[in-house]
Amino acid sequence: MDPSKSTPPKETISLEVFRYQPEEEDESRMQRYEVPLHKDWVVLDALNYIKDQIDGTLSFRWSCRMGVCGSCGMMVNGEPKLSCAAFLRDYAPGPIRVEPLNYFPVIRDLVINMEDFLHKLGEVKAWLLPDEEKPVSEGEYRQSPAELARYKQFSMCINCMLCYAACPVYGHHPDFIGPAAIALAQRYNLDSRDGAADQRAEVIFSHEGIWECTFVGDCTRVCPKNVDPAGAIQQAKVEGTKDWFRSVLVPWGKKPS
């Protein structure tokens, strides 16, 4: 949206923005900016206005501005939000406090270090490991609409990490695999084409896995895509428990897939 094309509204709203410039100072501080209160603006528009017109030194991530790339996660008034989906009018009269996502190290201003999450995606083997290899010449794997529905919800994760910023367990124990990574592991475990639940089990049922979760449930509450990571984790707990009972009561039985 181009601000110069429309007459600026008379009202303004304050943003209190977290600043951290490691080359200038060791501590963070809050900086206040006044932005016009356009009725259709989101927090991202306000941040871009600040960067373009007031303070070019403010750094933040963004890209698609339609809630699908997952770049723009930040804390807005203490809640993890996509800044492209947080409307200024919902926070009026303000001030609005904008801070980097909780529980992640801060690189600069609103930019956090997300390497930990990417590392965890690798650990849980978040990719398809088919039950049976099939040559491309034989066409697609058959998967009924009902089979697709089983894992579809967990496949909607945009990797925005709002769930990690909401999880107090992750806040206390950064080793915890975390909501999104477990949901993605479940996405593959429940995919009818996949056959590697046992390969993922070691990490999922490890000390840093699902048993760290105490079902606070905030991850599901803040998820902008209704992935329900808390649900994924609890379902994994049920599966894990069933598997344990099976292995104890029927130790000679087939290894669960």
Binding site: I107, A149, G171, G217, D218
Partner: protein
């Protein structure tokens, strides 16, 4: 990659983290209710293992009445929150659609109601 990491800021988690948001506070309350559930279970054990005289006198005592007045809302809150969370744990499918979470949670309440009626019935008939 050997690039130098510039100084990152770590924000420590305050000990009062659970006061920061309503959802965190409600979580802590839910966890706390487990204590009361556990305590009431112990009380029940004591009651069950005592004779009819002691049973009655314990129940009539003011301590017991206060304990029950405190425990009841705790146990109710505990039960309601967990019943409402069962659809997250128990996922049932009917073709492409999930069985409605309301139905799953609701069936817990239904069973609770039936069991309560049966227990109350027994208590009145034989009490």
């Amino acid at each position: 990659m050997t690039s130098q990491k510039s100084k990152e800021l770590i924000r420590p988690m305050p000990t009062t983290w659970w006061l920061g948001k309503k959802s965190y506070l409600l979580f802590m309350v839910r966890e706390l209710t487990c204590v009361f559930v556990g305590a009431y279970a112990l009380l029940l054990l004591v009651l069950v293992s005592s004779d009819q005289q002691t049973f009655a006198s314990i129940l009539k005592s003011p301590v017991s009445i206060v304990a029950h007045l405190v425990a009841l809302p705790m146990v109710l809150y505990h039960s309601i929150t967990w019943f409402n969370l069962t659809p997250k744990v128990m996922v049932l499918w009917r073709g492409e659609e999930r069985v409605s979470p309301t139905l799953i949670a609701g069936s817990n309440y239904l069973v609770w109601l039936v069991v309560s009626i049966v227990v109350a019935g027994i208590a009145f008939l034989y009490g």
